[in-house]
């Protein structure tokens, strides 16, 4: 009998007998399910945060900041900002005006709905063409702010997270009442965003420079052309970056932290599950000493025995992984969290489930290695004497 047929034969016997070793099999499945479940649900934080930040950002969007300043902390003079409009490669709106958004960020405070704590909340002053720049920004109630008026527009998530963002509520900025005149929704974005007219906000806070300038290009390929003319213009002291990269840079630290924590916990749990699987497999091998010795006696090779045991342990790990990933999905998918002051929804994605299955296979393989070697080395004579 060839080694391949031997392998298939033993594997078939193994799997048929799984129901008789329910305890051991369930131990492997549940152990792996818990480890994979924990790994997947922890990693879903990082994935969710990334999805929210990067997912909504279009590849043709570009951010400008003043040379040397970090993104979102620039000081861009008005004349420079206006010059940006004449650069090549910029998409035009219906009125054939280039889609260039000027923004200024100022600090304010909001009170958390649940805890009542006051937390820092930036208010984004923007030119009204923000709706051209991000069409996914949808007005859900009220209207947009009017240029020149002290008015605010808040995202739906502000209403959920903080008090005082209902339609018609008034917020005090620099001793002036700013009513909330509209609510917007930005598809899937959980972070609270408050918008105001940039010029009004800047004069209220006696600012003369913009914090950031955002540009929508005709296509991502126009970036090089746009950047070259930006850098060759001696009157502009600005740096450009794909908005996607700029945002990713902002969240690099948070993502590194989330991933470190996830992998740390996932690894520890995987080691635990592997040890559990190893113990169960040893028990299985011990329980089958006679059977294995008989197989050896009638001419089955030890290679086939090792391979079939390994295969069995990996096959037992897979339903565990599916169970774990499924539980993670049921419990945590789309759950809103705000660790470290940043709100997003957890995302349990198919690729995470796949990663979980890969880990499970590794756990099955490593956990099965030593027991299967012992199975192959069962001394035929002593084992048969025990009959």
């Amino acid at each position: 009998m060839s080694a391949g047929r031997q392998f298939l034969g033993i594997l078939g016997v193994n799997l048929a007998a799984v129901t008789q070793r329910r305890g051991a099999a369930l131990t492997i499945i549940i152990g792996v399910a818990c480890a994979v479940g924990a790994l997947v649900s922890m990693l879903s934080m990082g994935v969710g945060a990334r999805q929210q930040e990067i997912g909504g950002v279009r590849p043709e969007h570009v951010m400008l900041t003043s040379t040397g300043a970090p993104m979102f902390q620039g000081t861009i003079p008005r004349d420079e900002a206006i010059t940006v409009r004449d650069l090549p490669g910029i998409r035009k709106d219906r009125d054939h005006k280039p889609i260039v958004v000027f923004q200024a960020f100022v600090g304010s405070e909001a009170r958390r709905r649940v805890t009542g704590n006051r937390v820092f909340l930036p208010i984004i002053g923007t030119t009204p063409n923000i709706t051209e720049y991000s069409p996914e920004l949808q007005l859900t109630a009220g209207r947009m702010f009017r240029p020149g008026l002290h008015e605010l527009v808040a995202s739906e998530s502000c209403v959920r997270q903080y008090t005082g963002f209902g339609l018609g509520d008034r917020r005090d900025l620099r001793g002036v009442d700013w009513p909330i005149v509209g609510h917007v929704d930005i598809s899937g974005y959980q972070q609270c965003i408050v918008l105001a007219d940039v010029e009004t906000l800047m004069s209220a806070f006696s600012r003369t420079t913009y914090t950031a300038v955002r540009v929508s290009l005709q296509s991502p390929a126009d970036y090089d052309r746009f950047r070259a003319s930006l850098e060759s213009n001696p009157s502009l002291h600005l740096e450009a970056q794909y908005e996607r990269d700029a945002v990713a840079g902002q969240f690099k630290q948070l993502n590194a932290l989330l991933n470190f924590v996830s992998l740390f916990i996932g690894t520890i749990m995987a080691i635990g599950a592997t040890l559990g699987a190893m113990n169960s497999l040893y028990a299985i091998v011990d329980g089958r000493r006679r059977e294995l010795a008989t197989l050896r006696a009638i001419g089955f090779g030890s290679g086939a025995i090792v391979a079939s045991m390994l295969c069995e342990s990996m096959l037992l790990a897979v339903p565990g992984a599916v169970l774990g990933a499924g539980l993670a999905w049921l419990l945590f998918n789309r759950m809103s969290v705000s660790p470290f002051g940043f709100s997003f929804q957890l995302a349990v994605t198919p690729s995470l489930a796949l990663l979980g299955i890969e880990w499970a296979l590794a756990m099955g393989l490593i956990g099965g290695l030593l027991p299967s070697l012992r199975a192959a080395r069962v001394p035929v004579t002593t084992a048969l004497r025990a009959l």
Partner: protein
């Protein structure tokens, strides 16, 4: 006591199995220790943070709206205020753009240390006061970059000097330590008067004021009174104690509590299941031996207890080992969450959990062992 050898030999009946269970339990409790240590560490930090030190900053947030130095007298005049010190903050980089060093400019007058959480040796304090361009480095920073007292430290910043240069050089005159964790572990102290005279713009403004109050119990009242004085002015303030600030920044981690609890729950469930099936298997294999024990006069109760104690011993020892492992991880994890600790309560809770897990997982097998009929047990031989 006379049962000890019996229990011992029971534990080591299958050494491989026992070692694996031991490792599995250890790992579970190492994870438990790290996660719980994180949680209690955070709570501990909040409790430790000073409630009697207030920070007065602009309501518009840090860096958005510098406060004029003249506010100092107004704050000083609020009843209950003991000491007010101006603090200016900016960021520098050392040699490489990734090596960031925070720069905290303060005025080293006679009383300044009472408004801060620093511990500085008298010599360093004296040298700092005498050297205009002097700097004190947090011990962590000095160690990281290998700075020695007497070194000239060049830092690149965003703040221009009068001569146009954005590079500043400070003379290291000593090191200090900070008991507060809110400010991070990577900054140096410099003289505010030197900075303010040498810089091109922003003279006479600071990021915040540190305030020490004379009666810690009245800290909240004093904070509210300071904010009230500047309400509706161009420089509206927000006054918080260091403890309040720690609370706010740490609360965000609290949102993860549910996740942490779910993970710990998953660990314990997996562990319980694995060990319970192992114990069952073990009792099944030992049926004849237990039968012999009963034949020679061991009562069902003693057999029941023997099995329980065996599990208890393995679990508790493994939990101790696991919690010890967790403390080894702490220095590593402190990169992300400073001040991790393993207080007695976590150790106690861990051991209690271990005992509970041992009892639950061995109760069924122990019951089975106790109910064994001698005849049937021996027949299996």
């Amino acid at each position: 006591m006379r049962f000890l050898p019996l229990i011992w030999s029971g534990i080591w009946r299958k050494p491989g199995r026992t070692v694996l269970i031991f490792l599995q339990v250890s790992i579970a409790f190492a994870l438990f220790g790290v996660l719980q240590g994180l949680k209690t560490g955070v709570e501990h930090l909040i409790a430790e943070a000073r409630a009697d030190l207030l920070l007065v900053r602009s309501r518009a947030g840090f860096f958005a709206n510098p406060l004029p130095l003249g506010m100092l007298e107004q704050i000083q005049s609020v009843p209950g205020v003991k000491v007010v010190e101006p603090v200016e903050l900016f960021l520098g980089t050392y040699q490489r753009p990734t090596q960031r060093v925070g720069i905290v400019a303060i005025r080293p007058d006679d009383t300044w240390t009472t408004a801060f959480t620093y511990s500085i040796s008298p010599q360093a304090l004296n040298a700092f006061r005498k050297t205009r361009t002097g700097a004190l480095a947090l011990v962590d920073v000095a160690r990281k970059y290998g700075w020695k007292v007497g070194d000239h430290i060049p830092l690149q910043t965003n703040i221009a000097q009068r001569n146009g240069s954005k590079d500043w050089t400070f003379d290291l005159v000593g090191t200090f330590d900070d008991s507060d964790i809110g400010a991070g572990r990577g900054y140096i102290l410099i003289n505010f008067s030197y900075l303010d005279e040498a810089r091109l713009t922003g003279q006479g403004t600071v990021q915040h004021f540190n305030v020490a109050v004379s009666d810690p119990r009245r800290a909240t009242t004093v904070a509210d009174e300071i904010d009230r004085r500047f309400a509706n002015s161009a420089n509206e303030t927000r006054t918080e104690s260091l403890r309040e600030m720690a609370q706010t920044s740490m609360q965000s981690i609290g949102d993860l509590n549910f996740l942490i609890r779910a993970v710990v729950g998953a660990v314990l469930v997996a562990l319980l299941f694995a060990t319970a099936t192992m114990m069952m298997q073990s009792i099944r294999e030992r049926t004849p031996e237990l039968g012999v024990l009963k034949t020679v006069g061991f009562t069902s109760r003693v057999v029941f207890l023997l099995v329980l104690v065996e599990a208890l011993a393995v679990f508790v020892l493994a939990a101790v080992f696991g919690l010890a492992l967790a403390t080894l991880v702490f220095p590593f994890a402190s990169k992300f969450v400073p001040g991790l600790t393993m207080p007695g309560i976590v150790v106690g809770l861990g051991l209690a959990c271990a005992a509970l897990a041992a009892l639950i997982s061995s109760a069924l097998p122990a019951m089975r062992a106790a109910r064994l009929q001698v005849v049937n047990a021996l027949a299996e031989r």
